[in-house]
Symmetry: C2
Subunit: 225 residues, 2 copies
């Protein structure tokens, strides 16, 4: 029983890491599609999302079967519960990459982004994918120190997001309202993707330390308030 | 043991319903604050959010203690796991109401909304609060038929949101980019609030039927794609 149990636990951890990798890849491709107005790449992201959703259902079922059949206690119990919560975060990360791809598809053959903000999104995409990779590393290693560093790395995303809003709001924005709406939503999608990666890492801290994480202080848009 | 156990289960259900009521009230006040540019009402929502966050931590702890000490099985196990997932949705509903209040505070003494879209937000606020109340009813009654109806009621939110984007994108929007950015984000917050209320109901369906919910097909912005 114990052997089967540990196999199931490690199987669940591997599936969570797989799901995280798919979400990272989706965000990487979605960003490339966005920057290049590449419809076929956007379509790939949209199609691939099904795979993330299937993994999500499979992870939840696996976790539930573990609880029902093995009735784990203490640290093992924490691990399964965290797994169930982490599935929801990874699922959202996939959905946010999907949203980026859908905006790209909707605007094709035009670019959704005015050239002026391409640099911001190239960088936000890079940071988002790096945070996804870091969250995956944390899922596999359960290293609480690496998990804690993720939160700092997310500061780069917040800075980019703040600057993006400055460009939108404070300068002579000459690209019209429709582009501003797209840029606003896209900025939000990248920021939320990063927030969920940080949340995954926070849940691993809980796993490793047994302390309940407090609420994630969500990074406010335009932090001057 | 069983008596204590049932008390704990019912205590958890009551706390979830309380949390849902707080999220509804927050969204109701935040909408009023937004429409009236009422700073003190916005501040109330911002202060009250701490209470939602505390309840969220308390619900998670309660659910975890139940699992650890009582090792529930079958339907009871499902109920506790769903409870943990529902906490995350209710917590986001509170955070989304908080975002609405913060935009109101940031723009004060100005109105964040151009008068032209007030009607949309009055109605989106009404639908959001109604969906919150329906989700709470479902939490207390666990009535799967009522839960299923919620998804239909969410269609009203999607329609409002789509129309709002038409106003933003297609007509002569004369209110500038800054207002467009606020309206875009605010629209998204109301839509996500409604999505989470629907998700709470879906999780109760899982509770009542034992079938794993599939992924929530998130309502896409601008559904023409």
């Amino acid at each position: 029983m114990r052997v089967a149990y540990h196999e199931q636990m490690s199987d669940l951890a591997t599936q969570l890491a797989d799901m995280c990798r798919l979400a990272e890849e989706s965000m990487e491709r979605a960003t490339e599609a966005l920057l290049q107005a590449d419809l076929s790449l956007a379509e790939q992201v949209i199609t691939k999302n099904e795979q993330i959703e299937q993994l999500s259902v499979s992870c939840e079922e696996k976790a539930f079967a573990l609880l029902a059949l093995q009735a784990p206690v203490a640290g093992d119990l924490r691990q399964v519960i965290s797994g169930i919560q982490i599935v929801a975060d990874l699922d959202r990360m996939g959905a946010l990459a999907l949203h980026v791809a859908k905006i790209t598809r909707r605007r094709h053959p035009n670019h959704a982004l005015p050239e002026e903000v391409n640099g911001y999104f190239a960088e936000m995409g890079r940071v988002a994918v790096a945070l996804g990779a870091a969250a995956r590393e944390v899922l596999l290693t359960r290293d609480p120190e690496r998990a804690a560093r993720l939160q700092e790395e997310d500061d780069a995303m917040d800075d980019l997001h703040k600057h993006l809003f400055t460009v939108l709001m404070d300068r002579d924005w000459s690209h019209g309202v429709a582009a501003a709406v797209d840029v606003t939503l896209l900025g939000r999608f990248y920021e939320r993707f990063a927030d969920h990666a940080v949340q995954v890492a926070r849940r691993v801290i809980f796993l490793a330390t047994g302390r309940m994480p407090g609420q994630l202080p969500e990074h406010e848009l335009l932090q001057e308030d």
